[in-house]
């Protein structure tokens, strides 16, 4: 078999950039991703087995329509269905239908390679202090993991803790207690909101894009929202440490390498009406309010329009909202466990998006209310978060040329004419330990189409090309491109096949 070599201009590697659309809709603590409906199963409320509705991407889609319930093991099955044992026998049919539909789960046997799951801690640190640590397992022990793994947006509200707290930069109170539990000393220790502290460097780094990223800034001549960010320290337009910040994180599986600048849109609907929308109209990360409802008490005046309500970190998929002005004249319960009513404002955007806020814990019994759960104002708000992602796919394009006079023969057995009495031996004229010679009178099948019935057209050398194989430097077959239909190649024709491979 002869191989043709690609020339330098025949192989092109480039990058294909795509911007997939992504939309989240949050209502009543449920998240809906790209308007997908819930696909219910026979064993699980959602066949993807991701708790909390459809606003998730199941990372493997491995456990489909399974439940975590325990079924009988094979030994139990046999025991319970055995008619010869002196015990109540269960019907195997009933056992079968109750055999459970367990989750598939991964496991690993601990050995010297120190391979483990990410859910197992290596050190005392980490956010999940309940997770088991690697050294608690002995060699030979089985370390188990779990599916399904899923990803969704997460919201955190970084607000002042306690009456003495001042905002997202709060630190925890730590105590040294005496023998009777009395507090001996008290000091400020680790951050209350570690995610905020982790982002502070990054926010200052992006300050070159817009001063609104900066943790503290006096760059602007006027304050963005005087009532909201007015602090005692008059040297600054704002100090994020002292602000309440609404943090929304979008996992990168939804957007790829970055959110496309300028594509982000945040809409707040109140009882079905749009009361505010944020967009990055300048494409510099500032989330500017572009629509609003009437200012409370001042019909026709729009509250907050043109103001910057927050910033977006496009590469990290993080949205930080600080705008605390009222978007309309109504009030709602938008924080968990609170009996106070909040005016809809951007710091409460996305309430219910994996943040622990729900109708149940926003309707706690206030003294003036008749019964627990009476307040349903939480359900008046719904939130829409949409953007375009950016994915980059490397693409190899190969041009395989079949020039005139080339690729005009086939080793396919049907390429040659059938001759009667053609057995295996008849194809060979002479064969011995020294000579192997095929018959010389075998003819190529004439496949030239004739315009007339019962008339064979003149013979011309032609082939039907159905596949193009690609080999590496060492002549290993590494890929086959199959045509949807074979193409006819005549001897005097040039063909170029364009083969594209995403990598």
């Amino acid at each position: 078999m002869s191989l043709k070599k690609f020339r330098p201009n025949d192989v092109i590697i480039n990058t294909m950039k795509a911007h997939p659309s992504c939309e989240f809709f949050v209502y009543d603590s449920q998240i809906y991703y790209n308007s997908r409906p819930v696909q219910s199963g026979a064993f699980a409320d959602s066949v993807l087995c991701t708790s909390g509705g459809t606003g998730y991407i199941s990372l493997y889609e491995y456990n489909i329509d399974r439940s975590s319930g325990q079924g009988y093991s094979d030994a139990e099955f046999l025991l319970l269905s055995n008619p010869d044992l002196d015990q109540p026998r269960l019907d195997p049919e009933a056992l079968r239908s109750n055999h459970g539909n367990h989750f598939i789960y991964p496991y690993i046997v601990k050995d010297g390679s120190k391979v483990s799951f990410k859910t197992i801690r290596n050190s005392g640190g980490g956010s999940d202090q309940t997770a088991e640590m690697f050294h608690q397992y002995a060699d030979g022990d089985i370390i188990t993991g779990s599916y399904p793994m899923s990803a969704s947006i997460v919201r955190e509200l970084w607000s002042a803790v306690g009456p003495a707290g001042f905002g997202a930069g709060d630190r925890k109170n730590c105590y040294e207690t005496g023998s009777t539990g009395n507090i001996l000393t008290e000091w400020k220790c680790g951050p209350e909101y570690p995610h905020y502290w982790a982002l502070k460097n990054r926010l200052n780094y992006y300050g070159a894009r817009s001063p609104h990223y900066r943790v503290s800034s006096s760059a602007l001549a006027t304050r963005v929202a005087p009532a909201a960010v007015h602090h005692a320290d008059q040297d600054y337009d704002w100090i994020k440490d002292q602000q309440t910040i609404n943090f929304i994180s979008v996992p990168s599986i939804f957007y790829g390498s970055q959110i496309k600048p300028g594509s982000l849109s945040l809409k707040w609907h109140y009882t079905g009406s749009l009361i505010g929308e944020l967009q990055d109209t300048k494409h510099n990360g500032e989330l500017i309010q572009i629509t609003a409802s009437d200012r409370p008490g001042t019909p026709g005046a729009r509250e907050g329009t043109g103001s910057v309500a927050g910033v977006v970190l496009y590469e990290e998929g993080i949205i930080l909202l600080t705008g605390s002005w009222a978007l309309n004249g109504s009030t709602s319960r938008l924080t968990a466990g609170s009996v106070t009513n909040n005016s809809p404002s951007w710091i409460y955007f996305g309430a219910g998006a994996n943040d622990g806020v729900s109708q149940a814990n926003t309707s706690v019994n206030a003294p003036a209310e008749p019964s627990p759960g009476a307040d349903t104002s939480f359900k008046k708000s719904s939130f829409n978060l949409s953007f375009k992602g950016t994915t980059k796919t490397q693409v190899v394009t190969m041009f395989a040329h079949a020039r005139r006079g080339e690729a005009n023969y086939s080793n396919n057995p049907t390429f040659l004419e059938y001759t009667p009495n053609e057995g295996k031996r008849n194809q060979i004229r002479i064969t011995s330990s020294q000579v192997y010679e095929e018959r010389t009178d075998r003819r190529i099948k004439n496949t030239v189409s004739s315009s007339y019935s019962d008339y064979s057209a003149s013979f011309k050398r032609q082939v039907y090309i159905s596949r193009v194989a690609v080999y590496d430097d060492a002549k290993n077959l590494i890929g086959i491109a199959t045509l949807s239909n074979p193409v006819l190649k005549k001897e005097d024709e040039d063909f170029s096949f364009k083969i594209r491979l995403d990598i």
Binding site: Q39, G41, A42, F43, V47, L48, E61, Y62, I64, D65, G71, D74, A75, F77, L78, L79, S81, N82, P83, D84, L85, D91, P92, E93, A94, L95, R96, S97, H99, G100, N101, H102, I104, Y105, P106, Y107, I108, V109, D111, S113, K114, V115, N122, S123, G125, G126, N201
Partner: protein, 375 residues
Amino acid sequence: MVVINYESLGSTDVTTTKTLLHESIPLTGTIVTGTYKESGETETNIKNYTHGMFQSVYDYPYLSSSANHIFDMTVGYAKSSTLSGAVSAVQESKKINMYNQFSQVMMGYTSSNNTIREFELDLTLDQTGSMKDAFFINFSRLLYKDEIKPGTFNMTLLTGSWANPGSSEQKSASGSVLVIADASASSNQGTTNTLGGDYGVLYRRYGPNGSFTYSGATGSSDLGVGIIFYQAGIIALSTASFDGTPIFNSGSILSGASPTPMTVAQSFSSASISGSCNALRKRIANVSFNNSTQINSTIYFCRVPHNKYNYTANPTYLSSSQIRVKNVASDTPVSYITTVGLYSSNNELMAMAKLSEPLKKDPTNEITLRVRLDY
């Protein structure tokens, strides 16, 4: 200009390891049959084809994009089988071709006269104990990954009548429930290697006490009721599993003057391939096995000597030309290591390893960072 120092990795600094990641795969009978029925008896998670040579089983209605293919099923028998040549045979050539196809690929040919080697129900490969007719179950690669872990396969079958497979019409030590497992197999013994990879024998378990028709290490000639190919993820299950079952299939054949229900042998010859597969699916109560995936890792031991890397070119390291993390000028230099970069021989950055927390480095300590790269 940032100055970067590279540390060369010597032969003692790089090693490779292999680790096996396993998954426990339970497939209950409720997935295989009965759950996703539409009007009548149409099961929406079972795909039959116009060629009729096998059927595919999914874990959810296959028209849904969420559905995963879990296995294919078919039946076949050898030309030399007693089932071959029946007057009422249906799809016989396809069944024989199917058996030959599986046996060629999995068992190869006998060395004496180059005929297709038949499946055997033992580990000896001596052309005794042949299995001339079998159900074939091909598990999806999604489930068995690199291989089925030897010694972990279990299957529970119901061997009663068609109407009530769990009934105790077939009196045996275990009632109508048949549990089979590759009891002889483990990761280093109890299997035989053939063209299709390692295979183990599926032995029948008698009674709830767990004893198998396998007599231990000397039992390579003990006959099972099927075999399992670990790397190919294929099971060949003998019809002998259902020999005592009076009504294996729902159909009937004319035997003498009146129709009689089908035994498993009659189903093999006189029912369609999909019909026999349906009958087997109805009897699968449970299948479970563990799979294996081999993870290859390269480990780089990145050694940080005491007299190096005590300073950094990071812009945040200095504040007003003073080292931030040092209070007294005469103190020894100190830095915090957060990242290890792996470079090619051309000094191109190939990979970066991030530490979960920064490590303090000063001239009084040496650090070896173990960087593992899985692929």
